[in-house]
């Protein structure tokens, strides 16, 4: 990215994707944990494609960051932990949809979903909060040769 405004534009795309993803997924998880009872999980389920579109935006923009400065990311412990949390979140959602989602979505609007669904929701929310936190400290843990602007 040789253009000065390239990086901030990609950052905007990355955070837009994050807001779409986190908004849909986090509110789904919070509903599973009992917030905003009365909102049917089936209604929130219809917003998941929006979250997936946000994830796609984040992945594409994230790849552009990595391709531009690979050593700033690949050797960065904050980035490595972020990718690990993404993997856990992916495994968590796969297990949720494979084992519990149908029962959870069929829950009455005012009721709490089954305990297993709430555990999946708590794990998911924790992972995504961790992904955001790690993303913010990537610049703190960048490899040492990036610290010195005049070297």
């Amino acid at each position: 990215m040789g253009w000065y405004w390239g990086w901030p534009i990609i950052e905007i795309v990355h955070f837009t994707g994050l807001c779409l993803l986190f908004g849909t997924v986090a509110l789904y998880d919070l509903r599973m944990l009992g917030v905003a009872r009365g909102v049917a999980l089936s209604s929130l389920q219809r917003l998941i494609p929006v979250g997936l579109a946000g994830f796609a935006l984040s992945v594409c923009s994230g790849l552009m960051f990595i391709v531009t400065m690979p050593d700033q990311y690949l050797y960065n412990p904050a980035f490595q932990i972020k990718m690990g949390l993404l993997a856990v979140a992916g495994l968590n959602v796969s297990l949720f949809y494979g084992t519990t989602a149908q029962r959870a979505i069929a829950t009455a609007d005012q009721a709490l979903p089954p305990l297993r669904a709430r555990v999946f929701g708590a794990v998911s929310l924790s992972c995504w909060l961790g992904v955001i936190a790690c993303g913010r400290v990537i610049t703190l843990y960048r490899p040492s040769w990036h610290w010195c602007a005049w070297c």
Binding site: C19, V35, A40, D109
Partner: protein, 167 residues
């Protein structure tokens, strides 16, 4: 920058709290993390509520989405408190940057739009009435304003002309 503004910024920058925010690694990055969490909850929640008004969630109980306002308020609280902490570290950097004013203007407009949706759409939905004709337009405007907050926030780092005014 006027002399009075300069003196104001110097006074903040030389305060113990400001020096602590700038020169210690942890407080600045903790503030950044809470700011990101707060913004994600606030903007993410706003996006979901707007999408629900636009019909993407197809809910019989649209007014129940107001239950997520508490999440948005917690997000706003986190964002505001951490934002003040970040401002404390580099007051001139933000307060002399017109993009920061744009961010706050978008935030104010988004909040006004959300309050309109709560007052008119959710009230109508709770009574089983059709949504006001302007609902979709206001929801789209709210989405654009939320996106403006995100975009302006990201541009802050690249658009400031002043970092510190003091020695």
């Amino acid at each position: 920058m006027t002399t009075a503004m300069h003196a104001f910024f110097v006074a903040i920058e030389q305060s113990g709290a400001s020096v602590w925010m700038r020169e210690e690694t942890s407080p600045y990055f903790v503030a950044l993390i809470f700011h990101a969490w707060g913004m994600a909850l606030l903007v993410g929640g706003g996006l979901v509520v707007c999408l629900a008004v636009l019909g993407l969630a197809r809910s019989k109980s649209l007014h129940r989405f107001a239950g997520f306002f508490v999440v948005m308020k917690l997000g706003a609280l986190s964002a505001v408190l951490s934002g003040v902490a970040l401002l404390l570290g580099y007051p001139a950097k933000a307060l002399t940057n017109p993009v920061f004013a744009l961010k706050l203007a978008c935030l104010l407009c988004a909040v006004v739009a959300m309050r309109w949706l709560a007052r008119h759409c959710f009230t109508a939905a709770a009574q089983g009435l059709p949504l006001p004709a302007a609902s979709r337009r206001v929801a789209v405007l709210a989405l654009l304003f939320w996106w403006g907050v995100v975009a302006a926030g990201k541009l802050l780092l690249y658009s400031n002309s002043v970092l510190l005014v003091g020695p």
